[in-house]
Symmetry: C2
Subunit: 183 residues, 2 copies
DNA sequence: CGGTGCATCTTGTCGGTGACAAGTTTCGTT
DNA sequence: AACGAAACTTGTCACCGACAAGATGCACCG
């Protein structure tokens, strides 16, 4: 019936991890539960990820890559500085599982090469929008402010910390981000 | 020698938890390790906190109270809107353990009464600065933007996500927060 | 001043988990 | 066809959270 070799266990486990994290948060997952979901023995995933932190390392790297892709897409389709920020928020909400892992470096091997390069790429895309900073401000500071703002909004949204969230995070994010560059 | 009754086990465990979380992050702690640190049996802490989430609930409640205190102090000593934000960042860094727990509602009983009221108080203090919002903007949006900005900066700082952090988070936070209300 | 009730803490236990070691099956290569 | 490596399984160990039951000491009431 089911082959001894799964075929693409690595991908299957990662997908199961995304589902499980979306359901219960990144700390609640267990390798053994993921193995069960995928239909493999309890030590199956270990072979591909070394340990639990290794699995989350792979997820974080994948996340930074997806984020960089999303930001590039927004930038290259003519999105201005604010829209890149909105894209950041959209990613955080749509890929909540990835996002939550990415910014919990205590959960994974943050010095791993794959995650470091992916993270660097995402950072560079974010930086690339700095040339579009309106006004006569210090672009370094403005960039950091914008990143902080969208990151904070996304985090507050995802943690359910907002008292009156509304139902459209994107437009709220757009309004909030616009605050940085108006009057 | 050591008395059967610890005296103030609850406080001792909370303090040990703060130390442990500061060292290894909030997910790495174990009730049994805290019990060991404090010098009681492995089930000692259970009596005071019911379960692990109960311990983190107490920590979160304590954290929201400390945050509200800090913000009130800044506000009442004449701090303007920006300085309240800087105070928020300062709290997040000085009380990193508390802060990290507070915004991980999946780790504790977020509907607990004690934590809910403390959280509400902190929120109200934050709102109270809204009257000072400069310019002619929508104060609701401006408030949310400010909160997002300082929260995001604090989170990025604490997670080590900034590529070139510098050595003075407070002044950086001040510069970044000022970005919202200049030109 | 003596006893009793109760909060506090201990001991013991259970299922679940991560990590590791060793074995088994399949694949790829020659 | 055979052999070595890769993929997965089985087994085990220490640790953890939760729970149950027992031991201890404090406070209060008589």
């Amino acid at each position: 019936m089911s082959p001894y070799h799964h075929g693409d266990l690595r991908r299957a486990v990662l997908a199961a991890a995304v589902t499980a994290i979306t359901e219960n948060g990144p700390t609640a997952i267990s390798l053994r539960d993921l193995a069960r979901r995928v239909g493999v023995s309890h030590a199956g995933p270990v072979h591909h990820f070394k340990d639990k932190a290794g699995l989350l390392t792979a997820l974080a790297a994948e996340g930074f890559d997806l984020l960089a892709d999303a930001l590039v897409e927004t930038r290259d389709s003519g999105g201005n500085f604010v829209e890149i920020g909105v894209s950041y928020v959209r990613f955080a909400i749509e890929h909540r599982a990835h996002f939550e892992v990415m910014f919990r470096p205590d959960l994974y091997h943050s010095d791993d090469e794959s995650v470091a390069t992916a993270q660097q790429r995402a950072r560079e895309v974010l930086v690339s929008g700095a040339g579009q900073v309106p006004g006569d401000r210090d672009p370094e500071v403005a960039k950091l402010a914008a990143w902080s703002l969208v990151h904070g909004f996304a985090t507050l949204w995802n943690t359910g910390s907002l008292s009156d969230p509304g139902d459209d995070p994107e437009s709220t994010a757009r309004a909030v981000a616009g605050m940085l560059f108006s009057k």
